[in-house]
């Protein structure tokens, strides 16, 4: 059971992120929601490769006789983190531009494009 906790945490992360996206009215909070989903998915990926009691998969001065965790999900997670940083930076800088032109971050007012 305790081994499944990370999965539950990942789902909670994603759920919170979705809640934020659906119901929070501030553009910065929406950016936070996206980051929450990202973290949830990253946690899910990294948990896939985890083995109980194993060490990091690096040979330099590794303790002998220990099993290592699977490195592939870590590589995937790292890539996804890098992409996440680009996404977050872009969302935040566009939010700044919106604030510059609209003078507000409220989603109910940032909707000149509709219909």
């Amino acid at each position: 059971m305790i081994g499944n906790f990370p999965y539950i945490a990942a789902i909670i992360f994603i759920g919170l992120g979705i809640y934020t996206l659906m119901f929070k009215k501030n553009l910065i909070k929406i950016a936070i929601g996206v980051v929450l989903i990202q973290n949830g998915v990253n946690l899910f990926l990294i948990t896939l490769g985890y083995i109980k009691g194993a060490v990091a998969p690096i040979y330099t001065y590794a303790p002998s006789g220990q099993i290592m965790v699977l490195p592939t999900p870590q590589a995937l997670t790292l890539t996804s983190i890098v992409i996440g940083i680009a996404t977050t930076a872009l969302i935040l800088s566009i939010a700044m531009m919106i604030y510059k032109h609209y003078g507000t971050l409220d989603t109910d007012q940032v909707r000149r494009l509709r219909g």
Binding site: A56, Y59, A62, L92, K100
Partner: protein, 158 residues
């Protein structure tokens, strides 16, 4: 952003160089220890961010030139893709330096070892390229965002 108190600035002066050196250490040892180009670059960029908070955007822009950083960014990216192109004799991204005896060309040891810097082939080269790219890109991002924030604040006050 105004500059912060003298205490903060002094501490920044003290640790700023060490953070950058640690970042470059992580970049250069990317093929041996945890970390690599991205992580090391992010550490160096965090030093820039520290500078930005403690000294304010206007003072930092005197030290860190956006132009220079964006040249460095394009240069890093070109170096990365250029290294990939060099492997084109066999395949794109082929590690032509590994086990060749030249630069970074020692045979890698499989199993637990103390770590040899001179292994990895093109991987250290690509780590350096990515490191340059990330440190300059993140540096540009924090600088531009800081000056943008300055702009909006000015607009708010007026």
């Amino acid at each position: 952003m105004k500059q912060m108190s003298r205490i903060v600035r002094t501490v920044t002066n003290l640790i700023y160089g060490f953070i950058i050196i640690f970042g470059f250490y992580v970049i250069l040892h990317g093929h041996l220890t945890p970390g690599g180009g991205f992580q090391g670059g992010a550490i160096v960029a965090s030093a820039f961010a520290l500078l930005l908070i403690s000294y304010g955007a206007l003072n930092t822009e005197k030290l860190l030139k956006k132009d220079l950083l964006s040249i460095l960014e394009s240069g890093g990216l070109t170096m990365f893709i250029g290294t990939a192109f060099l492997g084109l004799g066999i395949t794109f991204f082929y590690n032509f330096l590994a086990n060749s005896g030249s630069w970074f060309g020692d045979a890698a040891v499989i199993g637990i070892n103390p770590g040899n810097m001179n292994t990895g082939g093109v991987i250290p080269l690509m780590n350096i390229a990515v490191g340059l790219e990330v440190l300059s890109a993140l540096g540009v991002i924090v600088l531009v965002m800081a000056s943008g924030a300055e702009f909006t604040k000015k607009k708010e006050n007026s």
